[in-house]
Symmetry: D3
Subunit: 136 residues, 6 copies
């Protein structure tokens, strides 16, 4: 059977602040600029979840997208949506909530829970920038 990648898009929004407490305030401001605002700012994140596998000859599906959607809603969207990443999400207690770190955190939230192999995540922080992670 052919191998196809199936992608589902979801969105959530969150507040965050880019800050590394092991750096001085001045270094934090220099590296992170306005993203270092101590009062936080925020984004509408768009997430693309791609799973890969052989097409099932009975259903014609690689994966049932309703099931994929339910798992992503349960383990990612409900966990991150309308949250402050720094204050409300335990993974970021000692980790800077950059888009790079966020996409890796989301990978770990999803890995092993989806009905097919997780192949690729694309995470948009704004309509002008995104990160791509394939688990490497």
């Amino acid at each position: 059977m052919p191998t196809v990648t199936v992608t589902r898009h979801v969105h959530f929004n969150a507040a965050h602040r880019l800050h590394n407490p092991s750096l001085s305030d001045e270094e934090n401001r220099r590296i992170f600029g306005p993203c270092n605002n101590p009062n936080f700012h925020g984004h509408n994140y768009e997430l693309e979840v791609a799973v890969e596998g052989e097409v099932d000859p009975v259903t014609g599906f690689v994966a049932n997208l309703d099931e994929v959607k339910r798992i992503v809603e349960q383990h990612v969207v409900s966990y991150l949506d309308h949250k402050n990443l720094n204050l409300d999400v335990s993974e970021f207690r000692a980790l800077n909530p950059t888009t790079e770190n966020l996409v890796v955190v989301i990978w770990r939230l999803l890995e092993g829970r989806l009905p097919s192999r997780l192949a690729r995540l694309v995470l948009w922080e704004t309509p002008r920038n995104c990160v791509v992670y394939e688990g490497g």
Copy 2:
């Protein structure tokens, strides 16, 4: 000369929390749901600024869009971008930062400063919802 509307799009992102201190905590949670998160959440706001006027026979412009852009960047984007609306923006000290209130605040920041008559603002909070204000 014909009357034409000219629109410029800009974006900014910000954190906020929907909360009215004159309501009980329970009422705030009931009305605003996850938007009432005390730790804030955030959005990528997309703003469309429309000015209207007769086409100038010398320039062929209703308004020089570079000038419109500079004024919007100076009075709106630099004032709101990467900010916490509740904590960093004085207009929201006693005003709930809903999209409706935010579009009216932006109107007042721009009114009388643009080279042509401000005709209409469209403010997107997410790709799925926006508000429109024409100054009424």
Copy 3:
């Protein structure tokens, strides 16, 4: 208080066939072209629902968008999504399911049910064409 328009976007998909039984088969094919296919074709419809009103000084809302969304889901999306407009939707038993007729049907499904005055519907049949209806 200022008057603001608030817009919520939803989507649904459906099959339909453009056909008027009072016309001959040849006239139907000439007027409706491939949209007259007796086996139906279909679309992803995108619907923008705009309500208008004064901003409530207590909530800062014209309308609670979660409530708007729930009403639109209940009365429009669940009624039309994954349906055959000609066969499954009673309004189209004797009415051709063009985008124009569909937007008027949706207006009647929503009118009087929303927490603020319904101001405008925009219905996209494809990313290249839409209809606008303001109830006139």
Copy 4:
């Protein structure tokens, strides 16, 4: 019968230069900046053509969009696509090809030729700016 607006989107691309020969070279550079480049630059224009009328009880159409599309292709797209507005389009021999002037020229190319009343043109010069003209 209800009155509905029907919109069709088309695109074309063209080169142009903003320049008014009655101004000095210095004034032209100051007003038009890089758009004054004597070697021209160019855009992908997106045009939205909106016609308005009562829904025809026989067809369920305000206007047959295939007919609207054919007329817009014939009188606008084929006339402007892959052209140099300054050199190839007679309307701009003595008129500066700003977006404002272009939308008015397109209105005159379409007015009276469409099967329903031309209600509104929206012309995007870039994804970040557009003009709107309603014939006034």
Copy 5:
């Protein structure tokens, strides 16, 4: 010469029903949900066709996109547009018209017919989900 991938986007719309006659009606409803509606529903499909090859030193093209477009229109769009996949398209007489199966069918319609090597197809069923097939 450098190897570049060139992508052309086209769209078509169609009706379909997800159903496997070897399963019981109850199993079909459980697996396919509202997509199992016996009266069909439909979608606007967006298709991205990517071909890959070395840049031709004479033309500067990997492939003439007008030729790619003509071949895709002839072999895919005209074959699927405004059709009922289950009833009108022979490949789906005994094959469930899921997006996964559809992208593989489209691959076979195009393979060997394009002026450069077919590298990748992306097929959007809705703006929120797509499949990717690279021929494996």
Copy 6:
């Protein structure tokens, strides 16, 4: 540390003409069609620049996107924006400015200048066609 790809989008617009002086005028017209217009036409180009690397444990960045943006603005956007590719850009004195050749030129402008490894460029000539180059 995980390896992540980070993408930044920018845009610029330019005029061009597709033409190979070693071919006859007739061959040029046959191969390039309206793109061969001697008076030029133009496009809004959208460029996606993807860099790849390990996430830095101190900053949480693969690359500081503000730095990526500054380098792309300096070496690509300011060099190409509002230009005539054939007349104003030295790389195209003897090279046909197709999208394929343009993406390779942009690669060479950026290679070795970015803070992380350049992984991939996507260049959109119109919303319906793009090229992808990974340096091969």
